[in-house]
């Protein structure tokens, strides 16, 4: 019988090249490398930003200069040289397109390779896509449908021009410029990103989605996303990324701010598949992201993430539960393989009364990778009856990888109820045996078990994403499982 052994699986995985690793040659309008006040001014000027925005960026830049790169995370990497990065790159032919025909055909080709045909998505998926390719959004769809409901969904540069009052009020309100090293850097040089505003009482009729791609070699991508859900509104936002293969490390330092006003609900889902580096640990994207949401009274923010890519991930989507009865949720699957390192988790800051939070984190490590969960649950002294449940499960595949858990639990209120549990295990031989016995081969059995392991999180993804996420899990893990 032709038996597919663990070794075969491992070999297959090792030789598997990054599927989405290609590079589109488009003329780019790229700034000289390095960072100083002039560059910050130039970025701002290039984007025709108002004076207050330029000042805001400069302020962030000044904070950044005084800050040191953090090294507390459980990851090892060569620190990027921030003076060797070009901070702005936009596709050169950047006119606003009326229709897809006007878009650079090479760009469209890129999207087609990725399987995200704009037209198809427009027609079939019912998803409004704001595609960000190398920092500048080049196509926005379904704007009209959204506009009818009063929903604003555009690039952040556009929002700065057209809705300055909203941007001015909320930008930096959840993640201040001086929050951390990468947030400060992002605030100074962010090139573009998405902006979303849902008016009072509006339930957004479709999933809003953005695709990110890093394209130009040597350019960091600094996305800034701002989602505001006004009182009683609801929005589900999807973010997904793939990046072409590069040997040089690329830096990605995004900031995402979510604001859920009274009774609003935001569901933010991410599938992250940046280039993870080759099987020898060379190259790959550095993903240092600051994501945070603020919940007012009765509001709810739910983060769901599937992290399969990046050489180094440093990401803690958090919720500040400021209003009474607000709810924070965090569902995560982090998969690491080869030499990938992930240090990810969440912070749940309970400030209001009767606040609730749930954390479900699934870590899967294979190859020589290191996967850490780092989380904070903080119950403030005024947070009466706060409730938290955390569960962190790790699955280890192979004996050269590591799984780590660093939960911080701080309770200052006696009425708080906190539960935390964590387990680490491997796929049981008896589980595999059970499947084999019933005619399911080892590879399928493993897929089955991993899927079951991650199900709690996969179930939380919107339909459109769940399929892609499942596929990604398969690609990232197929064969590595022992």
């Amino acid at each position: 019988m032709n038996k597919f052994t663990e070794d075969d699986l491992k070999k297959e995985l090792e030789t598997k090249e990054y599927e989405y690793g290609f590079y589109t040659d488009i003329e780019s309008d790229t700034f000289p490398v390095g960072l100083n006040e002039d560059i910050v001014r130039a970025i701002s000027k290039k984007k025709e930003e108002p004076e207050w925005m330029t000042e805001w960026r400069l302020e962030a830049f000044r904070y950044w200069q005084e800050m040191e790169e953090p090294d507390w995370a459980n990851v090892n990497y060569d620190k990027p040289d921030f003076q060797a990065i070009s901070y702005y790159s936009a596709p050169a032919k950047k006119a606003k397109y009326e229709s897809l025909d006007e878009v650079d055909p090479e760009l469209l080709e890129t999207f087609n390779k990725l399987g995200i045909s704009l037209e198809e998505q427009k027609k079939l998926a019912g998803v409004a896509v704001d595609i960000v390719m190398d920092s500048v959004s080049v196509a926005t769809t379904f704007k009209e449908t959204l506009a009818e409901k009063g929903i604003i969904f555009c690039s952040i540069s556009e929002a700065i021009q057209e809705h300055p009052e909203l941007v001015k009020k909320y930008i930096g309100s959840v993640v201040p410029q001086r929050d951390n090293f990468y947030a400060a850097l992002n605030s100074a040089v962010f090139s573009d990103g998405s902006f979303c505003y849902i008016p009072k009482g509006v339930r957004c009729p479709m999933e809003l989605s953005t695709y990110f791609r890093i394209n130009q070699a040597g350019t960091g991508q600094f996305e800034r996303t701002l989602v505001i859900a006004d009182e009683g509104s609801y929005v589900s936002y999807l973010e997904g990324c793939t990046a072409p293969s590069r040997d040089e490390n690329q830096l990605h330092a995004a900031v995402v701010e979510l604001i859920a006003l009274d009774d609003a609900e935001i569901k933010y889902s991410t599938v992250q598949n940046w280039y993870p580096g080759g099987k020898d640990g060379k190259g790959g994207v550095f993903n240092f992201v600051t994501k945070r949401g603020l919940c007012e009274t009765n509001a709810k923010i739910s983060w769901t993430q599937v992290e399969t890519g990046s050489a180094v991930t440093w990401k803690y989507p958090s919720c500040v539960l400021k209003g009474n009865n607000s709810i924070g949720e965090f569902y995560s699957i982090a998969v690491t393989n080869n030499y990938q390192q992930a240090d990810t988790g969440t912070k749940m800051i309970h400030l209001g009364k009767n606040t609730r939070s749930t954390i479900i984190s699934k870590g899967i490590s294979a190859g020589k990778s290191q996967n850490s969960y780092r989380g904070l649950v903080q119950i403030n002294s005024r947070a009466e009856n706060a409730r938290n449940f955390s569960q962190c499960d790790s699955l280890l595949m192979g004996n050269e990888c590591g799984a780590h858990t660093f939960p911080y639990i701080e309770a200052k209120n006696k009425s708080a109820t906190i539960e935390h549990e964590a387990t680490t295990s491997k796929i049981g031989e008896d589980q595999i045996f059970y499947c084999n016995q019933r005619g399911i081969d080892t590879e399928k059995a493993i897929a089955l078990i991993v899927n079951g392991f991650s199900k709690e999180v996969l179930n939380k993804l919107p339909m459109e994403f769940a399929v892609e996420a499942q596929k990604l899990l398969e690609i990232s893990l197929e064969g590595s499982v022992g």
């Binding site: 780590h404 660093f406 200052k412 708080a416 906190i418 680490t424």
Partner: protein, 437 residues
Amino acid sequence: MSLKDKLISSYMAYEDSLDQEHLIHDIRSAAIKNFENTGFPTRKHEAWKYTPLDKMLKADYTVFPKKSDALEYKNVKQYFLHDVDTYKIVFVDGVYSSFLSETTHEGIDVCLLSSALSKDKYRPVIEAYFNKAAETDSITSLNTAFAKEGAYIFIPAHKEVEKPIEIINFATGSEAALMIQPRNLVVVGENAHVQIIERHQSLAEHPILTNSVTEIFAEKRAYIDYYKVQNDAETASLIDSTYIKQERDSNCRVHTFSFGGKLIRNNLNFYQQGQHCDSTLKGVTIIEKKQHVDHSTLVHHQSPNCESHQDYKGIYDDSAVGVFNGKVMVDKIAQKIDAFQQNNNILISDKATINAKPQLEIFADDVKCSHGCTIGQLDEDALFYLRSRGIGKKEANALLMYAFANNVLESVKIPELKNRINGLIAEKIGVQLGFDL
């Protein structure tokens, strides 16, 4: 002059009085150098994030007390496990009290580190074990530099010690604030069994700072039962670091009962160096007022097929602060490990705080590791049930708290000690439970 400077200059004076040719002299000089470079840990050190030392370090501690008061046995009897026969090693202000002690050299050595360091016949043991388990962090290094006195316990192979050994450190601090640094060495030979009870007790109103280090070596199949009773005065602070190296098939159990003291920091470190080791770490913490208790545990699984069990319960009232920092590390070669860690906490008052950080660092794939951590209150339904049956509120609360801590108490193997701790818990909760626990 800061305490750090004071300690360094005292060391220089102290060094002159030492035998510079002594085999541990190099260890001492390296340790003081290490302390000089690193100083006391601050909140910026991850391991000390929740336990600031600065307030405690402000007092003007005497490092070498001039002369300690003689203690009458009847005055301190209550601190001994007096209703059972025990070996006793008693120190008053860091100085051995032969009057209160009961040591032995018959078959086993239960005596003093100072004599073990100075006599040639102990030389092989000191060479093989002294400072071989202790880490080189600044607090431990400080103790190593001043290591002079403490308990020395050597149990040869196949020997079962027939009665428990008590190690008691009294601090009289009659003249001023006092810092003492006991250093204990416990070597338990192959297949030997021993039970040890350790206690630090302040008898003065002056602030006392104890920086204690204990090294324990469990050889093959050794069985060690170690109890730490911490029910000190509110002026006394304790930093207690215990390092335990376990060889194949050995079984080590450490119970820590923290009921009082201004600030208590327990660093409890297990290193499993042989297969089939079993480590148990259990603790009950019941504190109130402004007390602060920090349990930092490490279980480092360095060999396959071992087990570890951790169970820490805490009850915090008033403005008390509890910290639990538990770490389980599993090396790549340590397959088939079963590591379990549990930490349950109850907050009684609005001002009490609990900071928990249970960590797992795992590099082996075929392991079973889990941890659970909860923070909550006494169950309202259970309280109602008890009260509806005519049990007063206070008693009902006490019953539930007692039940909460009972898991840990149950595994105490010395009945007299168990009774004593039951009594302490009843006193802490402030009720007589009215039945024999």
